[in-house]
């Protein structure tokens, strides 16, 4: 079965992208990001956000100076921070009239076909309604060591479940993005928002002209090949 391009884009966001150097949440950056993503959605693309940040926001909420290190405490802090995180996303997307949904996943759903199916159904239905799902790892119940990786692997998992066309990687600095298509094509670094929309359109056209049978997203962020 050939995969058609569905204009489906997974956007990976690290909380550090949305924070000041001192770790405090940067509302201005969040505002800008949610505007760009609402626009992307309005332009006919399906957008899925994969965002970290529960532990950082939970730490801040509890007034702790440093992030906790024990697994138990991190999980508790994550449960507090996830509620904050989703509230922030709702608040800013709301301003652009964009409805969001919260999806919390654990890695092991891949081992359970019923759960994969359930998750796919949820994503397909949400995207079909023009809603942006905000995905995070369900840290509070997850069995994997939390926050060990850079959340690219969660973005990759979501891309595989949803058969996404592109993983969009938000860079730490300013407005830079990496566009990684689902073929073995090289990734593209774009500097500004106009270029971002043009490049995404171009990538989607490319994908439409030659539907691939397999997903080819790099398995880790280090494997991404920029040209």
């Amino acid at each position: 079965m050939k995969m058609e391009c569905k204009n489906r884009i997974v956007v990976r966001i690290e909380i550090s992208t949305l924070s000041n150097p001192d770790g405090k949440f940067n509302h201005q950056k969040m505002d800008r990001l949610t505007m760009v993503l609402s626009n992307l959605n309005n332009s006919g693309k399906q957008v899925i956000v994969v965002s970290s940040g529960a532990i950082a926001l939970g730490t801040d909420k509890m007034g702790l100076k440093v992030q906790p290190t024990s697994n138990e405490e991190m999980q508790a802090i994550a449960a507090i921070g996830q509620a904050e995180l989703i509230r922030f996303y709702q608040h800013y997307f709301d301003q652009y009239n964009q409805i969001v949904a919260q999806v919390l996943l654990t890695r092991d759903i891949m081992d359970n076909p019923t759960r994969v199916k359930n998750t796919q159904n949820t994503f397909d239905t949400l995207l079909g309604m023009n809603i942006i799902p905000i995905v995070n790892e369900n840290d509070s119940v997850s069995l994997t060591d939390i926050e060990l990786d850079d959340n690219y692997s969660l973005a990759l998992q979501v891309a595989k479940i949803t058969l996404a066309d592109i993983i969009l990687i938000k860079m730490d600095t300013n407005s830079k993005f990496i566009i990684q298509p689902r073929t073995n094509l090289k990734a593209k670094l774009v500097d500004n928002e106009n270029e971002l929309f043009e490049e995404i359109d171009k990538t989607c056209r490319d994908l439409k002209s030659k539907p691939y049978e397999k997903l080819f997203f790099p398995e880790s962020i280090g494997d991404i090949n920029l040209n």
């Binding site: 449960a79 919260q102 999806v103 919390l104 159904n121 949820t122 239905t125 809603i131 509070s140």
Partner: protein, 254 residues
Amino acid sequence: MGTSSLTYHNGRLNFQRIATLAYVLSALRSRNLEIVLVSSGAIGVGAGRLGLIERPKDLAKKQALAAIGQAELIKIYQKFFEEYNQTVAQILLTKDIVTMPERHQNARNTLLRLIDMGIIPIINENDTISTFEIEFGDNDTLSADVAQLIDADLLILLSDIDGLYSADPKKVKNAEIIRTVKTITPELENLASGAGTSFSTGGMITKLSAAKICADAHIDTIITNGNDPNIIFDILDGKEIGTHFVSNGKKVVH
């Protein structure tokens, strides 16, 4: 807290009730009682957010609405609890907490830790990946599983049902509420199997099985009407409220 207690008959949120609930639970925290809230209502809130008049029947649609509504619901809880300076946390669970020992331990650690920090965890089923409570339980079973998980002393099930009746009160005029249940007999289960409500998936039968899970774990259960969350104060004062399933373990009530 069942869907029917959080919403009006048209499915829209009853903010006054949520505000009262937040007040009551925050007040109990001030008395040093440890509180975990299991709340339904995500699908209803999601439908409200999208301006849908009817609740969808299609399962995938319900899951999508739950994902939208859960985000809204936790925001609303945060708002009301913050008025009482009470921090909350969100935990989305699946049946794994019962079936997988490692996940059981993990969820337990997280919840106990949160309670220790003085936080009220707000729990719901993770409807995106699991659909059991959407289809059957309106969180009745989940709340019993959670009560067992954290060695709770008492489970209070708030819904639009006043308690367990000697007969279906809609059909039998002089049906009486059963105040105390010491053993859940097959006769009781038979009695309960008819009485569901149209606005939530949980009927008396899932509440009874929740009470059974708790009884086996030496936890008392009280089934009562959630119209006025202040009723929780009365329960803790030892007044006769709803139907009290007495376990043979420790007791906090009376």
